[in-house]
Amino acid sequence: MKIAVQPEAFDLGAEVAALYRANPKVGAVASFLGLVRDINEGDGVHALTLEHYPGMTEKALAGIVGQAVARWELLDVTVIHRVGQLRPSDPIVMVAVASGHRGEAFAACEFIMDYLKTRAPFWKKEVTPDGERWVEARDTDDAAAQRW
């Protein structure tokens, strides 16, 4: 398991390869990459700042991954979330889940993202032509997390 909160960019391909190279029992890796969009709620986004709660962030992510490992037969999981200043098309978060078969990898990857979106203490502030603003939480994210 690898959980990281960092300002630096990450390499999705290298992280996925690290999950299967060491373990020939891995038959499936489902992964997710979240990126800064230039349009949010109709306004152009020039930049994004990601604030977090150091200490709780890592604890929350480890708790979410632990729930996934308890629920599905997984071989390995990597979660990396960036903080600090980001620009449109910059990767923000990646989740990659290795398993023997695809159903469990897909379910666990989506579960981790849905829980991360509602339970991990990160906050986005956007810079738009009208100035800075905190991103509002989306009701659809609560609904997504409540499915599980």
Binding site: G34, L50, E51, H52, Y53, G55, M56, K59, A60, H81, I92, V93, M113, L116, K117, T118, R119, A120, P121, F122, W123, K124, K125, W134, V135, E136, A137
Partner: protein
């Protein structure tokens, strides 16, 4: 007892501080929030229930009836928007 209260994101800006020590008689999260609301604006605007917020006690998400102990770290923040 003394509670170390942390604020993040919009609430950190609204309250003008990232953290403070709050002295509280024995109680729970609801008691702490009620004490903060007695200060009036902007505390009452943000924490009396009209706007959504979340509370973590010692870095775990907590509800209003979570009991507090001396030295606890209580964080109050808007609904999260990472990912």
């Amino acid at each position: 007892m003394n509670i170390n209260v942390l604020y993040f994101a919009r609430l950190r800006e609204a309250f003008g501080t990232p953290s403070e020590e709050v002295e509280l008689a024995a109680g729970d999260v609801a008691d702490l929030l009620a004490l903060l609301c007695t200060r009036g604006k902007p505390w009452a605007d943000e924490l009396s229930g009209q706007r959504a917020f979340r509370v973590a006690v010692n870095q775990d998400l907590a509800g209003p009836d979570t009991a507090l102990a001396d030295g606890d770290e209580v964080a109050i923040f808007p609904p999260v928007t990472g990912g």
